[in-house]
């Protein structure tokens, strides 16, 4: 079933607009993004730097600071809007219902507190457990993310852990209060490939065990294709394509998605040259009229300069915002 048809999605984001008002102009980092996630689903949010994918994640948690502002749209958690909710409600949501795993395990833990104290904080704020029960829960959680001698390690400080171990701690903290949604922003980008595969395996298993949903934000299509049920591709703050993972990877209909996939060097088939998307991402303060991607698009025509394309149904489970989408098997 396509996500759009999900009856009661856990999270529904509708027409989200997050702008940053800077001296040199308004940056429309997220400009009308909509998606839905059902219970137990993993959604990949993909795009290049500047696509707005991290800002979507921060917006959902209400973590947008000045000069940024959510200018419009709805973020519905169980049908309840988080955009209009007060800070008290957001505090309840953060860590309890939605938790976040950040990219850099070196900076997302407090270096001055022991790991145990940072884990305990989550439970202290969000549960009514007593100290012994909290300690027990922390030990169990740390063991379940693959850290041995957990009771001892709780007394250690973050610098006493390696990068992979620290990311395990961050994941343990994110899972502690049994949230229903985890937003993972480039969780393995800072890690080595053998450690990355350990962490991805761990996240997959933990999410399945606890029945949580996940938004996986990454620039790495290979990681997303191994983890996600469906994928949303962002470009310059807009959704350009979304659909089920295999459909989107194998027969993308938006030329940008096609270009992204073709620029990944493929170890199975070696071509002499990689397909490349010409040019670079336009200045987001000063986007061209019509389709944002048209300057880099091999299929662009006059219409693309006049009219902004909207998401429309394509083949299989795909939805794409393109005037001249690709048919299955067609190359850009």
């Amino acid at each position: 079933m396509m996500t759009n048809d999900t009856q009661n999605p856990l999270l529904a984001v509708r027409d989200l607009r997050t702008y940053f008002h800077t001296f040199s102009g308004t940056v429309k980092a997220v400009n009308g993004v909509s998606f839905e996630i059902g219970e137990g689903e993993v959604m990949g949010l993909v795009g290049e730097s500047g696509g707005g994918k991290s800002v979507v994640g921060f917006s959902v948690l209400g973590l947008i600071d000045e000069p940024g502002k959510i200018e419009g749209g709805e973020i519905l958690l169980d049908g309840q809007d988080l955009v209009t909710a007060g800070e008290d409600r957001l505090r309840e949501v953060r860590g309890r219902e939605i938790s976040m795993v950040f990219q850099d395990p070196m900076t997302s833990l407090n270096p001055l507190h022991t790991v145990g104290r940072q884990m305990d904080e989550v439970l202290r704020l969000h549960t009514k457990l007593d100290a012994d029960a909290r300690h027990q829960a922390c030990v169990e959680m740390l063991e379940s993310v693959g850290i041995s001698q957990a009771a001892e390690r709780l007394k250690a400080f973050p610098h006493q852990f390696s990068g992979g171990m620290r990311q395990r701690v961050v994941i343990a903290i994110a899972l502690l209060a049994r949230p229903r949604l985890i937003i993972a922003d480039e969780p393995t980008t800072a890690l080595d490939v053998t450690i990355q595969s350990q962490i991805l395996k761990l996240m997959r298993q933990q999410i399945a065990d606890k029945g949580a949903s996940m938004i996986l934000i990454t620039h790495d299509l290979a990681v997303v294709s191994e983890m996600a049920d469906h994928i949303t591709v962002l470009y310059c703050g807009n959704v350009v394509e979304r659909g089920k993972t295999r459909d989107l990877i194998e027969t993308p209909s938006h030329p940008y998605t096609r270009g992204l996939i073709d620029s990944i060097p493929d170890t199975a088939h070696r071509h002499d040259r990689l397909m490349q998307i010409p040019g670079s991402v336009p200045d987001i303060r000063n986007l061209p009229k019509g389709c944002n991607f048209r300057d880099r698009c091999p299929r662009a025509q006059a219409l693309c300069a006049q009219q902004e394309p909207v998401l429309t149904k394509q083949h299989a489970t795909l939805w794409a915002a393109c005037h001249y989408p690709l048919k299955p098997g067609e190359t850009a």
Binding site: D192, V193, S197, Q198, L200, A222, E226, A268, Q276, S280
Partner: protein, 344 residues
């Protein structure tokens, strides 16, 4: 000396150890036989040997801390090696001083990982690209030709003359990496040491830079030492691949041989851990437990044995040497002698 069978670069038993002394009192240790002054060293590179022919692209892969960047920097003589030989066209530069290195730098240039940090923010692009060239050109006549050459170089890497007067902050990451490449090319070197040249770039820009590097190789017959942690990038660009782990080369083979039949357990684990957009088929899955040990305190024998699923007592006693297994492939693993222990 430019005979065609002298390799462009030959590295023999290269070692690079960094003392991390700290102050006198930090190193002072009591116990055992009274007072000792310890001299801890990080053994970043521990006896690495390889060759790169003219026009060949050799990639070094491995995880963080395996010493691949240190190898690159030692060859580029940013570090002075602890021991071993670094021969550029047969000439050993390992012991050279600053002045002796100057003519060598016309043969070897470097491209760095971070295009934001490797360009001087206060220099214009034209001056950045001209700097190595001016360093090598001392005659007035030669210097007169520099501006025209800069323009040609910028065109070659896909920038135009209008860009020459700008400063680095006015460019995107991909364009900055192009400037770095133009700077390296300015002295027409035979060898370019590229340390993770595309790791900081988005995938669509990464493809542009990889294509450019390949075109330049074909046009100028450049040899690259290409450092990367990304196996798919390495597979795309390299002719030969060396796999490093904890300061040692564990496997060295032509690209197609290495990807088709990796022999070292670490190479196999690395290949199976790499995520892919293709649907999983019957991929051999060696999942490594644990993490890379500290280079301060290397394990005895084989450096990989603490994470190797096949390790046995011999691995703790004896350090395996690189041995030829045919197909121009060399592997440092005791499993080659005792294949019956390979149970995967």
């Amino acid at each position: 000396m430019n005979t065609s069978n002298t390799p462009m670069l030959e590295v023999r038993d290269l070692k690079m150890h960094f003392p991390i002394g700290g102050g006198f009192f930090n190193r002072l240790k009591l116990g055992g036989k009274g007072v000792r002054l310890e001299n801890p060293v990080v053994q970043a590179v521990n006896g690495v040997s390889f060759k790169i022919g003219r026009g060949e692209i050799m990639a070094l892969v491995g995880e963080s801390g395996c010493g691949k960047s240190t190898v690159a920097k030692t060859i580029a003589r940013i570090h002075k090696p602890t021991s071993g030989e670094v021969r550029i066209e047969g000439e050993d530069i390992a012991g050279y001083g600053f002045a002796e290195m100057l003519p060598v730098r016309a043969k070897m240039q470097m491209i760095f990982q971070d295009p934001y940090a490797s360009l001087n923010p206060r220099q214009r692009v034209r001056d950045i690209v001209a700097e190595p060239l001016l360093e090598q050109t001392k005659t007035a006549q030669g210097r007169k030709d520099v501006p025209a050459r800069i323009e040609a170089l910028l065109a070659k890497v896909g920038l135009n003359s209008e860009h020459a007067g700008r400063y680095p902050h006015q460019f995107s990451g991909g364009q900055r990496q192009r400037i770095g490449i133009a700077r390296a090319l300015s002295v027409t070197p035979g060898l370019i040491v590229a340390d993770e040249p595309v790791s900081a770039l988005d995938v669509s820009i990464q493809a542009q830079i990889l294509n450019l590097m390949k075109d330049l190789r074909d046009e100028f017959g450049l040899a690259y030492l290409f450092i990367s942690h990304d196996l798919s990038v390495v597979h795309h660009i390299a002719d030969r691949v060396g796999v490093m782990y904890l300061g040692s080369m564990v496997e060295n083979a032509p690209r197609d041989v290495l990807f088709a039949k990796p022999r070292h357990p670490y190479t196999r684990a690395l290949l199976s851990a790499a995520p892919s957009i293709k649907e999983k088929r019957d991929k051999e899955e060696i999942v490594l437990s644990g993490e890379v040990p500290s280079a301060l305190n290397l394990p005895s024998g084989c450096c990989f044995r603490t994470r190797c699923p096949f390790a046995w007592d011999r691995c703790a006693r004896e350090r395996p040497a690189l041995q030829d297994v045919g197909d121009d492939q060399t592997v440092a693993c005791h499993l080659i002698d005792e294949p019956e222990r390979d149970t995967a």
